[in-house]
């Protein structure tokens, strides 16, 4: 039997269909208009340097939980991924479970920020945002949800300020940076991060884009656009695709000193696992975390492999530790329909029982 059994007329049909969609889709592309970033209404409540602390407007018909939730996103991408479109918004899902959601938008660092360190971010910006929320609500402790690198920051913060954190949720957060399937970590071992930061100051977003695309270059720079043609005839899907496209390439520069410290502490020294993680002159001891914890990871995550997140189990003193495995990827955990049905309600329910 021949392994390729495609009739000539079938090929012609597929090609005609492809080019027809391409032609029709061009009009939809032209009409797509401005691509918005974030759909849920929010208010800026606190600003410092380039940071803005947003509070999302709560739905009037949902009973509110008394303990607010601070979402700490990574530095390497923009946080509107968590609120990318109406029917795919983690933020909206959390609001619907009664959470009072705050989110830190780190902004776009420029060379004036290259001297910012991990200490400035964690004991500076994050601590002041937490204090602002605590004082606004008259509470000693708040809930924190950390996403990816934001989850690493959340862990460090919670270890250094356990008196301010009531419940901690981490999503796709790397804890063990040297699992065998961690490509980024393998590549980082041979890079002279001191030379890179001393040369460039901030690490450009373009370099990070290149690195992430290099994980799957054929799918992410080629096949994706062939597949895109299939949805070009639907203006709604075109807009959704363009939003995702904008987010993927909207990578802020990384403050140089923070990038240096983070890379050395975690990618080179594997700080949490080896107990050598530091912030400023303080050692980060995850055993200082005793609050309830929910650790969510994605089973097909090629950026943060599941084992990298699951390593958190047993590293803290929490007596109420729960894991949730999501059958999807690093991005799917926020934007897939399945995640909206499974992940955000699970977070909301878990928090509601403990707030």
């Amino acid at each position: 039997m021949l392994p390729i059994d495609i009739r000539a007329d079938k090929i012609s049909e597929e090609m005609i269909e492809y080019t027809r969609k391409l032609g029709q889709g061009m009009q939809n592309l032209i009409d797509a208009g401005t691509i918005d970033t974030g759909v849920t209404p929010k208010d800026a409540t606190y600003t410092e340097d380039k940071l803005v602390l947003y509070r999302y407007q709560r739905p009037a018909d949902v009973a509110q939980q008394p303990v607010p939730l601070l979402v700490i996103y990574a530095l390497v991408n923009r946080p509107y991924m968590a609120d990318i479109q109406e029917n795919r918004s983690t933020i909206k899902g959390l609001l619907e479970t009664g959470q009072d959601v705050y989110l830190i938008d780190w902004g776009y660092p420029d060379q004036a920020d290259c001297a910012l360190t991990l200490d400035d971010y964690i004991n500076g910006y994050i601590d002041r945002c937490v204090d602002y929320i605590r004082e606004s609500h008259g509470l000693d402790k708040i809930n924190i949800l950390g996403i990816c690198q934001g989850g690493v920051f959340s862990l460090m913060y919670s270890a250094l300020h356990p008196d301010k954190v009531r419940n901690l949720v981490t999503m796709v957060t790397p804890v063990d940076f040297k699992t065998p399937d961690n490509l980024l970590s393998a590549w980082a071992q041979n890079i002279d991060v001191d030379l890179a930061v001393d040369t460039m100051g901030n690490i450009p977003g373009e370099l990070l884009n290149f690195t992430f695309l290099s994980l799957k270059p054929f799918s992410l720079t080629g096949q994706k656009y062939v597949n895109m043609v299939d949805l070009l005839d639907d203006p709604g899907k075109v807009k959704n695709f363009l939003r995702m496209e904008k987010w993927i390439f909207d990578s802020p520069d990384q403050a140089g000193e923070t990038f240096r410290e983070f890379t050395k502490c975690f990618y080179l020294r594997n700080g949490f696992v080896t107990g050598t993680a530091t912030v400023g002159d303080q050692t980060v001891d995850l055993k200082q975390i005793s609050c309830p914890m929910l650790n969510i990871y994605a089973l097909q995550d090629h950026l943060v492999p599941p084992d990298a997140s699951k390593a958190l189990n047993g590293m803290t003193s929490s007596k109420d530790y729960t894991e949730l495995a999501f059958p999807g990827g690093h991005i799917g955990i926020y934007v897939s329909g399945k995640a909206q049905k499974e992940v955000t309600p699970a977070i909301g329910n878990w928090l509601n029982k403990r707030s």
Partner: protein, 374 residues
């Protein structure tokens, strides 16, 4: 254009017939049997030339990229199915012996990836171009990092042949007043050559992967035949080829060898950029302009000062609170809470940061900011 449907099926068929007829005429006149360019590619090009003037620049850029990927898709399908039974060949005849034809296709692809096939077959070139994507990504990124240094800098320089001469030249010591300047130029050239060497190693690594991906595709089609599940659509064929390339790539870039080559490339680029920065700084300094290294020093000092300032302010507030909690201590004046509250506004953070006076005023406020509607 007022036409809502920019792409008409009848028009497309007409284009296809036109190009097929023209190509047929050309071959008859010249008496040659050159492989026919993919008529779909030609039709797409013709269509895009007709409609692209109506598109905005961002849309044009986007569509150019989609068209490029479309052409790669068509080329892949055309190449793999050329000469297969049921698929008409360039001369219109249906070829027999499908396995022989497929094997020949794979052999040609491997030869092309090994550098043994010239530009005789455009579809092979398109597939070679597919494997250039990772390199293309690097070149675009490198160009964006250093505008003075295009991403393919020194790519084709015959490094090995000239290395000995360059090494001799670069090791010659400078003398006199220009000693330092000469040393810097030597360092710059040395960095350039090291970058070029690292880039060539990187390219060499990828050249091997193309050959391996063809082997993987060969194995895949063999297994599809044995399990009785042939590839039965153009998209399935293209996706299978992408999957093979992606699988081979994932295996190879996980190796310590790739991590070393990748690290050397990035480090070499950074070293070259650093040498360029040093020379730029020297030129700026000579013109009495601020240099990057001076700014960096100032930034570090300023950030240190800000850090200390915030720390001291935090301690001061804590002390005041403790005093206020003492009996009779509530008569002392209070100042802002430890988290400097800024009146909420929908204005972007950049605007708030640009007005230091506003920040100082906000820090003196006693109550937390009220949320403003966005």
């Amino acid at each position: 254009m007022s036409n809502q449907n920019l792409f008409n099926d009848n028009w497309l068929k007409l284009q296809q017939e036109y190009w097929e007829g023209l190509t047929e005429m050309g071959r008859k006149v010249t008496g040659t049997a050159l492989p026919q360019d993919n008529p779909w590619e030609a039709a797409m090009d013709q269509w895009w030339k007709a409609v692209s003037p109506a598109a905005s620049d961002p849309a044009k850029t986007f569509m150019d990229h989609l068209l490029d990927q479309g052409k790669t898709y068509f080329s892949t399908v055309e190449r793999f199915t050329r000469g297969m039974p049921g698929a008409a060949g360039p001369d219109g005849n249906v070829a027999a012996g499908g396995w022989d034809v497929l094997s020949k296709t794979f052999d040609q692809m491997q030869k092309a990836f090994s550098g043994g096939l010239g530009d005789q077959d455009p579809s092979i070139n398109k597939m070679l171009g597919f494997w250039e994507m990772p390199l293309d990504n690097w070149q675009r990124m490198a160009s964006s990092l250093t505008p003075m240094m295009p991403g393919d800098l020194l790519r084709n320089m015959p490094h090995t042949q000239v290395k000995e001469n360059f090494d001799r030249m670069l090791s010659a010591p400078g003398l006199g007043y220009s000693r330092e300047e000469q040393a810097q130029y030597q360092d710059l050239i040395r960095s350039g050559m090291e970058y070029q060497q690292a880039f060539q190693k990187y390219m060499g690594f990828f050249n091997q992967l193309g050959v391996k991906s063809v082997d993987r595709m060969r194995s895949l089609v063999q297994s599809r035949s044995e399990t009785g599940k042939p590839i039965d659509s153009a998209r399935n064929l293209y996706d299978s080829w992408v999957q093979c390339c992606e699988d081979v790539y994932a295996e190879e870039v996980s190796t310590p060898e790739y991590a070393r080559i990748h690290g050397e490339l990035i480090n070499a680029q950074m070293a070259l950029k650093q040498r360029l920065s040093v020379m730029v700084d020297q030129t700026l300094g000579a013109m009495n302009m601020p240099t990057r290294s001076e700014l960096r020093t100032l930034q570090n000092r300023l950030q240190e000062t800000r850090r200390e300032n915030k720390h001291l302010r935090h301690e001061l507030e804590a002390i005041k609170r403790r005093i206020a909690n003492l009996p009779g201590g509530d008569t002392l004046p209070r100042s802002a809470p430890s988290a400097p509250a800024v009146k909420a506004s929908a204005a972007p953070a950049a605007k708030a940061a640009a007005t230091p006076a506003a920040k100082k005023t906000a820090a003196r406020k006693k109550t937390p900011a009220k949320p403003a509607s966005s």
